[in-house]
Symmetry: C2
Subunit: 345 residues, 2 copies
């Protein structure tokens, strides 16, 4: 019998936990009724979790609840996390990849602590210079991967090349039929633009461009991130974080302005009636909950971070992401892509 995909979930992390976590799980189970190739490990206060589970018609053989008394608070800092987080639901859901059967861990809890204890428990892959945080962005042609989003404020060329290989592996695990097109985020598309580090990374990636792992598209500017020509956008954590948040802020500014405009008089309000389904589709396509889940790459096991403030639907999408990237064999893809770099050294 083939081993089942095992997802270890920190049921106590994030706002409205464990309610939204279990509700999100229930959506996942309903949407995957026909499948029996996975099992969910839920970590946290068993009594409370069982109460939440009882609200839904959840089959016992797909979900295993494992008691963990402690919860990582939002106030906990990465500095004291290792001492204070042992045996919490977060800690144990990561540890499950070492002790148990888990293929991947998911939490909506404290981000800084999650990174520190993930690194501590799972340890860095020997092939990697630094781990990176990758996110999903909507694009004209579907979805892209952007990394690093803030795990590394400053990066050298070796880090950026590693991120390219890791991002390509992630993209391939989510979209197995596509060959990823990788680009470096820069302030111009000409080869002479940018910092020395970018230029060195460019020339290394160009050397890898006959690589079977990905196609190197060169530099990409900020205004092209969402045009879908490149699927993996690579940058340092400072720039990636600024770009991600600027995009979020711009989207919020625009949709708020639009909402205000469409509710300002009776005619525009009436127009919403006629455009209801179209606007709903528009909203649904861009729903940030669909892109919920940042993937911590470069450790000996994948960890997914859900937004703490997301709701059950957002949490569902991050469970779905866990399922997809394990189904797509992320760790195998990562090792394959990175081994390729090793040979080059």
């Amino acid at each position: 019998m083939k081993k089942k995909i095992t997802i270890a979930i920190d049921a106590m992390g994030g706002e409205n936990a464990p309610k939204k976590n279990i509700e999100g799980l229930n959506i996942f189970l309903k949407n995957n009724k026909s499948k029996d190739d996975f099992i969910i490990h839920l970590y946290g206060n068993k009594k409370i979790i069982d109460q939440e589970i009882a609200k839904f018609n959840i089959k016992n053989d797909l979900v295993k609840v494992i008691n963990a008394e402690g919860v990582v608070s939002d106030e906990e800092t990465p500095l004291t996390a290792i001492k204070n987080s042992k045996n919490t639901s977060m800690w144990n859901s990561i540890k499950d990849q070492i002790d148990g059967d888990a293929d991947i861990s998911l939490s909506a809890g404290n981000t800084g602590v999650l990174f520190v204890i993930s690194k501590m428990i799972l340890k860095m892959m020997k092939e990697v210079s630094r781990p990176a945080l990758a996110g999903l962005w909507p694009s004209k042609k579907g979805m892209s991967v952007v990394l690093d989003l803030g795990a590394n404020i400053e990066c050298n060329e070796k880090n950026l090349v590693d991120f390219s290989e890791m991002g390509a592996a992630l993209y391939k695990s989510i979209f197995p039929d596509q060959k990823p097109r990788v680009a470096l985020l820069n302030i111009g598309s000409e080869e002479i633009k940018g910092t020395e580090i970018l230029k060195k990374a460019y020339s290394e990636l160009k050397g890898l461009s006959n690589d079977e792992n990905f196609i190197f598209n060169g530099y990409i500017e900020g205004n092209k991130i969402m045009n879908g020509e490149s699927n993996v956008i690579v940058t340092d954590g400072f720039t990636g974080n600024i770009a991600l948040k600027t995009a979020e802020g711009t989207a919020k500014f625009l949709t708020d302005s639009l909402k205000k405009s469409l509710s300002e008089n009776i005619f525009s309000k009436l127009s919403i009636v006629f455009s209801y389904f179209s606007l709903k589709k528009f909203k649904s396509k861009l729903d940030p909950r669909k892109y919920n889940g940042a993937i911590f790459l470069g450790l000996n096991g994948p960890v997914v971070k859900s937004h703490g403030s997301t709701d059950a639907i957002g949490f569902y999408y991050s469970i779905d992401l866990c399922y997809r990237i394990i189904k797509g064999n992320l760790m195998h893809q990562l090792k394959n892509n990175l081994s390729h770099l090793d040979v080059k050294d």
Copy 2:
């Protein structure tokens, strides 16, 4: 008699020049009919410019056409610009600040060349460590200034402090009644976040926070740029350029998606009829042409760069910007703000 505000315009720079430049000028003149406190110097091929001027009812005493034979081509590189650009319309419109009466120069031509020859002709202000390129961003509360947008790929803390003072001076010249609130772009709002350079700039700016020139708002994250709480957002040229272009790309992605949604069926098309005026207002508020014009700060005279591809309306807004910042006494504000730093040294 008080000296008139003199704006030197490169009439030959940008797409569809000089047609769009003269058309933009005509809009400016129509919108400022009641004023007589300015004069426009137009540089370029006099014969062609006069032909364009003849199409409109433009008063001779407000516009002076000064012949310049050469034009800086889009293919010219900054490296050879100083040799090849002498006596072009761009060169002479900047030189007008030295030889003539001009208070400010405006061009929609080759950006790289404009920077190099502006620096060469006008020279850096002695108080400034590096010049910066500032842009205007729409915000919830009106308009903000963001700098640097790409003149300096890497910056130290001294540069960032200079940019803060210069950005505050620019904001004050545009909005004389407001005390600018300055913030440093970073990946978190806590004092411990970010690079060493940012931390040093933060502590210097905090020391200046009782400054009469501006209020220091601390760090700002990318998603807050447009919320209007800070009016001057300071960053290095690499990050600023990425943020600006990412915002542009996100806005384009969203408006394209919206357009597509609203034209997908007969009902949604019908809705446009009802929301016509509201959508028009929405569009107008966010019209990028209103924010056309990046200001090159830190030289002994201001230079404004219009988007090359903008139309007559966009060019009009950049002429209007020139008028406003000279009316608001930009150079005086700059010297005042920067002298303040000198005293601190």
